[in-house]
């Protein structure tokens, strides 16, 4: 579904992604790990269409289309969902209004009629239960005054509402206690089907105890320097990132 080929991105003249290639097939869960500043969040943002920097090379193909040419909202309607590392607070815009607009935009895109108010509220209720989100949150403004954990749960809730084909979760686990982490992970597992895929960006292995990846990539200095099965995550947890850095440096020397 998604083919990234030698993607290069520069921000303010500085090369952040230095040639990333990645293939994701329907139903796969990819984990992307790596130290701070390796370019993980930039990759997520670029895939979702945030105009952060300049794509200086490479292509991204999503279901045969050039993803990089699509507007952020069109990517979303085509099924790409970004779970933000720092969800934005939008005072004055209620969650209900926000989600209703988003859901109906998705439906319009698929040629469906907008949901009636009661059907929409029913859908909200179902999904809230699915991801165990406090129903009061839905009555407030988008993320306003939410705790860190509530914001992340709200991201998962939105994902459940929008039923994406490809969900990119950018450090959704950071700042969560173990209970919140479990709720978030359970939400993901409930939404997981045979035909949708996930990119789970994380620092730590602990989230991967709950969301089991098919493939683990290590991103370092703007490149994917290692790709392996889920056991790689455990190895990283044990040894940290230094050995990878060393390996990379040695490779460069060689």
């Amino acid at each position: 579904m998604l083919v990234i080929d030698n993607l290069k991105v520069a921000i303010n003249g500085k090369n952040i992604l230095k040639g990333i290639s990645l293939k994701i097939r329907p139903g796969e869960i990819h984990a992307i790990m790596g130290p701070n500043g390796s370019g993980k969040s930039t990759l997520a943002a670029v895939l979702a269409g945030r105009e952060l920097g300049v794509v200086t090379g490479g292509t991204v193909t999503y279901y045969g289309k050039n993803l990089l040419e699509m507007a952020a909202e069109d990517r979303a309607k085509e099924g790409i969902f970004l779970g933000f590392q720092y969800p934005i607070e939008i005072p004055g815009v209620s969650m209900v209004n926000f989600m209703k607009t988003a859901v109906n935009e998705h439906r319009k895109h698929k040629g469906l009629d907008p949901l009636s108010a009661s059907d929409f509220l029913k859908l909200m209720r179902e999904k809230k239960e699915l991801v165990e989100i406090d129903s009061k949150l839905a009555n407030r403004s988008v993320n306003e005054g939410f705790s860190g954990g509530e914001k992340k749960k709200n991201e998962i809730f939105q994902m459940a509402m929008l039923e994406p084909k490809l969900a990119i979760l950018d450090e959704t686990d950071s700042g969560l206690d173990i209970d919140a982490l479990r709720i978030v992970a359970n939400g993901v597992n409930k939404i997981k089907r045979a035909d949708n895929s996930f990119i789970v960006i994380t620092h730590y292995q602990r989230l991967l105890d709950y969301i089991v990846p098919d493939v683990v990539h290590v991103l370092y200095d703007g490149r994917i320097v290692k790709t392996a099965g889920k056991e790689l995550a455990l190895e990283l947890e044990e040894k940290g990132y230094d050995w990878i850095k060393k390996e990379v440096e040695n490779n460069i020397l060689v």
Binding site: A71, N97, F98, A102, L162
Partner: protein
């Protein structure tokens, strides 16, 4: 004193030519203020941009013009006023309609309501309740800077009088609808006096509409007295056309432990200037001053707010927000004055503005003047655009950019609207603002008299 300007001279002549007629139709007590106010107006004149409080507003566009002034109600027009129906769904309010500044005689002049509440013509009240009027009239509308307040005192002959006796909680809000309707260009002034005695509660909605397309100038003064432990809520909804100029001066005087709020919602209007003066005259009083303005085309909207902490341990809040489109201009003059004895003051002030085009312009002047030390005061002002991050967040959920912008602007505006306690009105405002932000004309949507 420098020579009187040409513009000011117009109004001096207007006074000289008509003062006998005005005195003839108004009560003696109100007349007794006129000469002194006229002298003060002669001294101060129509404010120019040299007046620090009017630095960003040029009044001459509207003041330097020939208007007909009405000093007597025209009976035939009252049928028009009678026809007017507010279309805010489910708004349960006691309605009063003023046409061109006059209380329509068709409805009778002064009514008594349950619990001793009186609502009606100020002119009539000055005759029927001289003690009450003499105790409050002209006591709060004090200024050494704004000649227009004095012009109003010199010449206004009528307006709304409301009296809420001690201990009375008026559950149903009163809605005053100010209509301007005339074949000619007219200048009108009205004067309101609201007295809320202690331990009482009262909500007043003032709606400003224009019904015919002429050039109109309105200069209105409202004095409100809020007694000990009382609650007073004032909501002003302005929806006038582009050749109307609305100038309002609202003076709210508060006694101890009282809570008063003012909310100016300017949806439409050619030139709008709202001056709101809050005097925290008793300990532990709380005042809130809110405002929202949405300007487009050549509109100019200026909000002036003065909050004076005269007593200790009072709290005040100011929140004014503006969205300016096309070549619209906006101004905010906010002032917090903490007098030397007003220890324990908490005072906040915020003004946020969004410019939607390169031709829109915003000038803001939030000021703090503090003469006591045990205070916590802060103010903030911003002028900018919609936040890119928020915009992306909405887009990443599949909402198109145009819709996302409208949503963000709506959220921005809603922060002011949410302070309206009457649910029906709050929802209506949300609706009107949403329509306005989508560029659908909201003025006519809120008006039953279809002026075409």
């Amino acid at each position: 004193m420098s020579a009187v300007s040409e513009v000011t001279a117009r109004y001096l002549n207007l006074y000289n030519d008509n003062i006998d007629r005005i005195n003839g139709i108004s009560s003696p007590y109100i007349n007794s203020f006129r000469q002194k106010a006229f002298e003060k107006f002669t001294e101060l004149g129509v404010p120019t941009r040299k007046n620090e409080d009017y630095k960003y507003t040029n009044l001459n566009v509207f003041f330097d013009h020939d208007y007909r002034s009405l000093f007597m109600p025209v009976e035939a027009d009252f049928a028009k006023a009678d026809e007017f129906r507010c279309d805010v769904a489910d708004l349960d309010a006691q309605g009063i309609v003023l046409l061109n500044g006059f209380y329509p005689t068709l409805n009778g002049k002064l009514h008594q309501f349950p619990n001793g509440v009186w609502i009606g013509s100020l002119n009539e009240a000055a005759v029927r309740f001289p003690d009450l009027v003499e105790k409050h009239y002209g006591k709060y509308a004090q200024t050494d800077k704004d000649g227009l307040v004095h012009l109003n005192t010199a010449m206004a002959s009528d307006g709304v009088f409301i009296y809420v006796p001690e201990g009375v909680v008026v559950a149903q809000p009163v809605q005053v609808v100010n209509l301007v309707h005339a074949e000619e260009d007219i200048f009108n002034q009205h004067r309101n006096l609201i007295i809320v005695e202690k331990n009482a509660e009262f909500t007043l909605i003032i709606c400003d509409h224009t019904l015919s397309p002429g050039k109109f100038l309105t200069n209105a003064v409202t004095e409100a007295y809020v007694g000990e432990n009382s609650h007073f809520d004032l909501i002003r909804v302005q929806n006038e056309h582009n050749t109307a100029c609305k100038i309002t001066h609202t003076f709210i005087h508060q006694e101890k432990n009282s809570v008063a709020s003012s909310n100016n919602l300017t949806l439409h209007g050619g030139l709008v200037r709202n001056s709101t003066y809050h005097n925290l005259g008793g300990e532990r009083a709380e005042s809130n001053s809110y405002g929202l303005f949405l300007g487009d085309k050549f509109q100019h909207i200026d909000n002036f707010v003065s909050v004076v902490h005269s007593s200790p341990n009072c709290t005040s809040n100011q929140l004014f927000k503006g969205v300016l489109d096309d070549v619209a201009t906006g101004a905010f003059n906010g002032r917090i004055l903490v007098r030397p004895d007003a220890q324990g003051t908490l005072a906040y002030q915020r003004n946020n503005n969004i410019l939607l085009t390169d031709d829109a312009k915003m000038d803001t002047k939030p000021q703090l003047e503090i003469y006591a030390d045990d205070v916590k005061c802060s103010h903030g002002a911003t002028i900018g655009q919609l936040d890119d991050e928020s915009l992306f967040y909405l887009q990443s959920r599949g909402i198109n950019k145009r819709e996302a912008r409208v949503m963000l602007m709506f959220g921005f505006a809603h922060e002011v609207i949410q302070n309206i306690k009457i649910e029906a009105l709050r929802e209506r405002m949300d609706n009107l603002v949403m329509q306005r932000l989508r560029g659908e004309l909201s003025r006519c949507a809120s008006c039953m008299v279809k002026c075409g």
